[in-house]
Amino acid sequence: MTDHQPKGLPAPLRFLAKPLPLLPVGTILSLAVRRLAARRPGVFDRIGPYRTCRFRIAPVDLDFDFLLVPDGTRARVDTIPRRARVASDVEIGGPLVDLLGLLDGTLDGDALFFTRTITVRGRTDAVVALRNAIEDAELKPADLLGLTGRLGTTADAVILKAIALLRRLATEPSGRESADPPGGSSPSITPFGSRS
């Protein structure tokens, strides 16, 4: 057995993230997911019957969670306080940078699960369907923002650099809140958007 604890955001960044639930983050994300569904319905087809499930996404290094219902153009995202008792079908927990890595395909979900970096509770079939749909979607930030052309390319570059910086801050010793998972840092795989 090992003393595994997930990596986390540095304390200053956690502090900066605290007021996010006061902003209309849920509304913005809901609109973004609905826009994505209108442009790329195939992504949501792959989720199949699980698109009406309630997925609680719980970054361990934030004070709030996200509740996602990926129901295509009727999708909804809400922010909820960390310990709030809200009914959900699924809960996926882990450090924010690792959850972002799953979203953009930088990290392998199974490898993160094997090393216990992420945890899964509830309907495993719904988790598997969502993960496979996200895997195939090859999402870029511009997809969620609804940006195309040069603007989309620029947005991708800026946001991805920011995420990479976040990942470095979360893994560097000075910014580390806790230890690496057993066997070293999280399994990093391909650079996001390497094919684009």
Binding site: T2, Y50, T106, D110, A111, F114, T115, R121, G183
Partner: protein, 329 residues
Amino acid sequence: MSLELVCPAGTPSALRAAVEAGAHSVYCGFRDETNARNFPGLNFSPDELVDGIRFAHRHGAKVLVAINTFVRAGHPTAWIKALANAEGAGADAVILADIALLDHAKRHHPSLRLHLSVQAAAATPEAIQFYAEAFDVKRVVLPRVLSVEEIAALAKEITVETEAFVFGGLCPMAEGRCSLSSYATGKSPNLTGVCSPPEHVTYTDDAEGTTAKLARFTIERFGAGEPAGYPTLCKGRFIAEGKTGHWFEDPVSLNAAELIRPLAKAGVTALKIEGRQRGKGYVAEVVAAFRAAVDAIAAGRDDPDTAKRLAGLTEGGKQTAGAYKKTWR
């Protein structure tokens, strides 16, 4: 001659990742019970297969379509349709296990190249030659129960190509372990195409850690931070006669990277990477590592430490050469 690297793709994006990482061939299946990785959100629609094959061919890679479950008695339509869709999409080969489906393919799709799936568990010259002579099978995917020496001896006695697993799941299949999942869940890995169906898998936490269950069976308890494995009964940890252990199978990954040269010498044609249920990140990393190793060995160089490179992607953080080195003998 260089070994052919056969790589998994559970989704179109994984197919592209495999091809771009250097796969010579990619294997995939349709989004139904006709293939042995029938998980939610996974696999290809017929249209996606057409696009995937077009992409692969444009990059000089082949696509092999796994239609490798056993046909449900009295309901062959899905399997027959899958064969027609695979041929229509331009598949380079289909990977089959069911004798009736092999027979149908030979009669109705004579130009389709047939590979024998590992699900058929053909491990003797007699069995393999039967499939070769009866159905004109061109290649056999070997069950993961043979040593390198046994493969070398086998290869001398058969007239078809051989494909050997080199990385990923160890599933022997031949000796009935899959029946554990069927017994627990009512769904068969070999018929329905799904081992440990995720709708039957649950994880619960308490003060001592996490408990994994398959249907009503507790199959594993992990302490906090203890590496986890796939929630399959065959890899469960049980107490028997006062001792706790993985009595059916250890939760480890096969990694035969160091055996590429011996496998080539044994007459193996193709090396297969398991993992259609894994993400494109896994696919890209494993394929790139094995392609580098295959190329290095073909050029007379040493293996570039592939096993170490892939350690982070193994199940439970552990790897083994499995039956290729029968160290227990």
